[in-house]
């Protein structure tokens, strides 16, 4: 954890704009014989909200722990704002929200924040101002003097986000920030992430939650068995990875699925009676065929709905492909 030189936030002497916030090349980590991270490489742009997805044990947390300097990689390089990951200057510019809420439970929320500010050498008057604003933002100001041991999981998670933000980091690493939380806490954290994104912070978010990734992230990377299997915008991943679109059609009266399976561009037909689900690789072509069919059979369509593949479908397909390759 000790590389490079210490640095105060105001004396970096480097221009922080116009470059990648995080650069990773050939990152490799073994746990014994297990290859946990296998030559992973990617870039995260300044001000980007970057999602890092993967099934359990895929290597997400290991990657975050390397980039935040908690553990060392056996190979490859990781740079945070141009500094080697794990070096003191890189840590000075980063804020970390680990998966487990790890504030000091025998200290109050306020004292935890002041401690973190002191560890990042934030001036006391500034630290107090920021601590107050952050606690108010997450609805914990009234409980600022309570010991953290009296806090619920949701309150602890909200507090550790404040702990990561008190130094006003350029890059924020969050490992499963909403995992196990109630709806209110989840919504509050997602809203905070949106605001931080607007403020220009670079956010590296690992999550299991596909809706969360789809809703929040500018780009996502998918990791499986330690290997990066895809990296793109959620929209492109959905379209690119999901071969089949689903076209849901409702007719005024029952139609036999066997008849519809004869149409052009149909891969599979499901459903009975009035409501039919058709799987296709060419939704536009299929819709044209269905319209011709309804006209020629004097039918009336009461509903037509084209469903693009979800990020979850793309994720399942990409992670399964790698599993099968293995």
């Amino acid at each position: 954890m000790e590389k490079g030189v210490a640095l105060s936030p105001i004396s970096t002497g480097r221009t922080l704009e116009n470059r990648s916030a995080i650069t990773v090349e050939g990152l490799t980590k073994y746990y014994g014989n297990l290859l946990a991270v296998d030559h992973v490489g990617f870039n995260v742009n300044n001000g980007e909200l970057f999602g890092f997805l993967g099934p359990n044990g895929a290597g997400k947390t290991t990657t975050v722990r390397i980039l935040t300097g908690i553990i060392h990689a056996e190979g490859g390089t990781g740079l945070v704002m141009g500094y080697p990951a794990g070096s003191l200057p890189a840590k000075q510019l980063s804020g970390v929200v680990p998966e487990q809420a790890n504030a000091y439970v025998d200290l109050s929320a306020w004292d935890n924040l002041i401690l973190m500010a002191e560890l990042y050498r934030v001036r006391l008057s500034e630290a107090r101002f920021r601590a107050e604003a952050l606690l108010q933002k997450v609805g914990l100001y009234e409980k600022k003097d309570n010991l953290v041991k009296t806090f619920s999981l949701g309150m602890r998670k909200r507090l550790i986000i404040c702990l990561a933000l008190v130094s006003e980091p350029h890059v924020l690493f969050l490992d499963e920030p909403t995992s196990g939380l109630d709806v209110q806490s989840t919504r509050l954290i997602r809203e905070m992430l949106r605001k931080l994104r607007k403020e220009g912070k670079t956010i590296f978010l690992t999550t299991h939650n596909m809706d969360e990734a789809s809703e929040l992230c500018d780009r996502v990377a998918i990791i499986n068995h330690g290997k990066l299997v895809a990296i793109d915008t959620p929209e492109r991943l959905r379209i690119g990875a999901g071969r089949f679109h689903v076209v849901e059609i409702g007719f005024e009266r029952p139609v036999a699925p066997e008849i519809l399976s004869q149409l052009q561009n149909v891969d599979k037909v499901e459903g009975t009676g009035n409501k039919i689900r058709i799987y296709t690789e060419n939704p536009c072509g299929l819709v044209a065929s269905v319209v011709d069919f309804t006209r020629s059979h004097s039918l009336t369509m009461v509903n037509l709905n084209i469903q693009t593949p979800s990020l979850e479908e793309a994720f399942v397909r990409l992670t399964q492909e790698v599993s099968h390759d293995k």
């Binding site: 640095l7 553990i71 970390v96 790890n102 000091y104």
Partner: protein, 251 residues
């Protein structure tokens, strides 16, 4: 930043860690009571029934108090923080391994110095006199640093259970007390025991305390104080080097 300003910057951060340690681990009734009672009872168990002058008794009690308090809590901070995952928090902050250790050591030093007032006050109340207060103060401070850096060596195994580290440190601490001239002045020990005592840093502090309180001192402060400083530097270097190796295994 120059190396000097990096050291200064990191030292300031270590003060935050020391403050946190004092609040979380030291300023607790049971810890303070243990720090005072443990050496007192152990000491009384050996001295009751024996006719010993105050200038021999109080330095021994002072030596035990500083030794036990400065080594009581700091060995278990690392396993405690490993268990609570707060060590991971510290590791992700812009602090070096030595910064964390310095913070732990400073808290332990403060605790050791504060508790040293108890036997000194007991001595003054019961009629002992301090002939060389400044030398005694220097001895207490050096001894607190020395024993605290020794305590950091106890905590280097990457165990997450405080009990494991407590057991390991007790295995070293108790025998060390018996060979350090605490219960009997070094000058009165047989030659072979003098030889063993010369390897313990506690011997040199007890000798300084004996000298300052007018008792028989085998080693003069001009030898004991530089030796305590030298041992502190060696223990500190060993502790930092060992922790650098084992800290990643705790995370």
């Amino acid at each position: 930043m120059t190396n000097r300003s990096v050291v200064l910057d990191q030292t300031r951060r270590s003060l935050a860690i020391a403050k946190k340690d004092l609040r979380v681990y030291y300023v607790k009734g049971p810890v303070v009571i243990f720090g005072v009672l443990m050496p007192t009872f152990l000491f009384l168990a050996f001295f009751i029934g024996r006719q010993m002058p105050l200038n021999s008794l109080i330095p021994g009690l002072l030596g035990m108090a500083v030794f036990f308090t400065a080594t009581a809590v700091s060995p278990v901070i690392a396993p405690w923080e490993t268990q609570a995952r707060t060590l991971e928090r510290l590791a992700s902050c812009p602090v070096a391994v030595w910064t964390i250790l310095l913070g732990d050591m400073l808290a332990s030093v403060v605790f050791g110095i504060v508790i040293s007032f108890v036997p000194i006050l007991v001595g003054l109340i019961t009629g002992a006199s301090i002939h060389h207060p400044f030398i005694l103060a220097a001895g207490v401070v050096l001894a607190a640093f020395c024993f605290s850096s020794l305590a950091l060596i106890f905590s280097f195994p990457p165990a997450s259970s405080p009990a494991t580290i407590m057991m390991l440190s007790s295995l070293i601490k108790f025998p060390l007390v018996f060979v350090s001239g605490v219960f009997m002045p070094v000058a009165e020990l047989p030659a072979w025991a003098k030889g063993i005592a010369s390897f313990s840093p506690l011997t040199y502090f007890t000798e300084v305390a004996r000298y300052c309180m007018g008792g028989i001192s085998y080693y003069p402060p001009s030898l004991s104080l530089p030796l305590l400083l030298m041992v502190t530097i060696v223990f500190w270097g060993i502790a930092v080097s060992l922790h650098k190796r084992t800290l990643p295994r705790r995370l």
